[in-house]
Symmetry: D3
Subunit: 71 residues, 6 copies
């Protein structure tokens, strides 16, 4: 019954979410010897003013957006 | 000081949230011998494109909505 | 597919855990109109030196134990 | 690599979020002897109809808003 | 800076944990276009008396152990 | 009613936990204008074989221990 939660910046496409949850589920199925229908993957999206690293909000550090292209 | 979090699909009514948090609090009070004012219940609502089971997003598997009627 | 997590002090009996997870599941089934087999309840137990309220660790505030009797 | 998450009522300003994440990061750096860039702080904001204490939703108990002034 | 947490039954080997965290990290790198060093994966292990489905504790439902072989 | 959770490597002393939870509580009180008794801080300790960065378990990357001295 594994439950995976992915915390990440808001802004990914529906297609990326499809691929991501499928890939994570496949990893658990192959490594943990569990059935796909037992695996739940939850995505938790964060605005960049709700995430800091090194004491600095990502909205200030990277501006809006997500992933590498925001750099 | 128990803290309960309920992760569920978005779409429940205010009245359902009232009933749910009351019922959960009552369960903890009676089973754990704690006082009601010590119990916090937090509801975390998910869009169906942020939740997958069996590697498939619920928006694709069940369409929009929540609970049984979405089937 | 609701997922409930209960964070509480370590020390409850297996029987209390049975009753608690059953009562919480029943609450969700009746209020949210979902099936019992969709509901997961996870218990996360904390030592009292890992929980503070008002800036004071519970091990210092209440001593060892859990629930009311620890007062 | 400590990860801190702060669950709180929605409504704080960007400036409060800057100060809060900076202050929390500084606390971890000084007490845990870690580097600032290792510390992530995530803010999770809740509407008052998604948070209950003592079995009562905060929207009913305190009305809208956040912090002391909402009383 | 994505953060992934995997909640699962206790009992997997160190080697399985190595493979699992590597496979999950690779999935995020390829699908989300982020760098490996930005990705944290945290494993949260549960005893079977702390996890219920359908209102029944897994220790009662499946006995001790984890994954398929516990059936 | 803010709730803070700190996820970190296992191994800190009771005294460090006292200082950390006090400092975090003070930060929330001063920045968010809330009362100390409303603030809960929960510490979640991880073994190094349950935490990976860049696809590598910290037990392999840093060996046992916690904080800077483990490097």
């Amino acid at each position: 019954m594994p439950i995976v939660s992915v915390k990440m910046a808001k802004g990914r496409s529906l297609e990326q979410k499809r691929k991501l949850t499928k890939a994570i589920t496949d990893s658990l199925v192959s490594v943990l010897d569990v059935r796909p229908e037992w695996v739940s993957v939850l995505i938790e999206e964060y605005e960049r003013d709700n995430w800091s690293t090194g004491g600095e909000l990502h909205i200030d550090k990277f501006g809006p957006g997500c992933g590498k292209q925001a750099k």
